[in-house]
């Protein structure tokens, strides 16, 4: 089965009606602070995400006639959980304890989440209200665990170089024929339209 991997530069956000952004792309799109400057890695994802949002704000009748889709962003509980966990543990906590690996010396729950004078609650509130603000452009989908579990069976996980969440996303995306936007080199999913700037993924593309 082919790897349907597309260079993000060659995909117009209006090409598909729905997109599934992985957690790290969500975080880059929501929180990367460019100050208006372009950045090699984050910029294509941030731009793609923003154009998806902005296409929904297009009201010009002439443009609407030509527009293929006003795309929406698929949000599931699993990806929402990953966004919150990755951001709070890898970005917010790291910022709180200073740059570099200093934060690794600390315990997330004891030294950050439960510490009353940390910025945990403020950062969580900021992230969640950002996500909530995008509700006009989001489509909430159930993770459909029963169907996906029986279709893929957990017993297959050891055959793949994937963590459980990525494995689950692969099965979910195949089932619903949703395009994935990711920079994760592990997301090698056959028969899933994958949109990326990740060289390792683009190298194995069958397109």
């Amino acid at each position: 089965m082919p790897y349907l991997i597309h260079d993000i530069k060659n995909v117009a956000p209006e090409d598909h009606p729905l997109y599934f952004f992985d957690a790290n792309v969500w975080i880059a799109a929501l929180k990367y602070y460019s100050g208006g400057k372009q950045n090699e890695y984050e910029s294509p994802y941030q731009s793609f995400f923003e154009v998806v949002v902005e296409l929904n704000e297009t009201h010009d009748p002439e443009i609407l006639k030509r527009l293929k889709n006003k795309p929406k962003i698929v949000l599931t509980s699993l990806v929402l959980s990953e966004i919150i966990n990755a951001y709070m543990r890898k970005v917010a906590m790291r910022n709180y304890f200073g740059n570099g690996d200093e934060y690794r010396r600390y315990d997330f729950k004891r030294d950050y989440r439960d510490k009353t004078d940390s910025d945990y609650k403020a950062k969580l509130k900021d992230l969640c209200t950002d996500i909530d603000s995008l509700s006009d452009y989001a489509v909430l989908m159930d993770d459909d665990f029963k169907a996906i579990y029986s279709a893929s069976t957990l017993g297959n996980l050891y055959n793949y170089d994937l963590d459980f969440n990525d494995f689950y996303y692969g099965e979910f995306l195949k089932k619903y024929k949703l395009p994935l936007v990711t920079h994760d080199k592990d997301c090698k999913f056959e028969n899933v339209v994958t949109i990326t700037a990740q060289e390792r993924l683009l190298k194995i593309s069958d397109i």
Binding site: L30, G35, E50, D130
Partner: protein
């Protein structure tokens, strides 16, 4: 003082992208270049994200030292979450080192 309404600049009630924020920055900075003060109104806005606040107000604070004297922000009555996002944006804009630390973390997350 010039009054600028965000909804007029971005053509939407949803101030939710960094790119929308940069449009607001462009509109404000034209007046700042002429030495004019600006009243930026959030009236009519439905949603605000930190990305928007960073692209607009954060960038203004990053590029104009006199931002706090030239820019007045209104239409935020009862919008405590938006006020917090705006204050965070001012802090990020005024302290490039904080922005750099955050960006490094996001960069490493994306590469992981």
């Amino acid at each position: 003082m010039i009054t600028l309404k965000i909804v007029d600049i971005i053509g939407s009630k949803n101030a939710v992208t960094h790119a929308f924020g940069v449009k607001v920055f462009d509109a404000i900075s034209k007046h700042f270049a002429n030495g004019e003060k600006v009243f930026l109104s959030f009236q009519g806005v439905k949603n605000v994200t930190s990305g928007f606040a960073n692209g607009s107000i954060g960038k203004i604070y990053s590029e104009f030292k006199e931002a706090s004297e030239l820019l007045t922000i209104g239409g935020l009555e009862g919008k405590t979450v938006w006020i917090e996002k705006i204050e965070n944006a001012k802090q990020l804009g005024s302290n490039p080192q904080i922005a750099k630390v955050q960006n490094n973390a996001i960069y490493e997350l994306l590469q992981s």
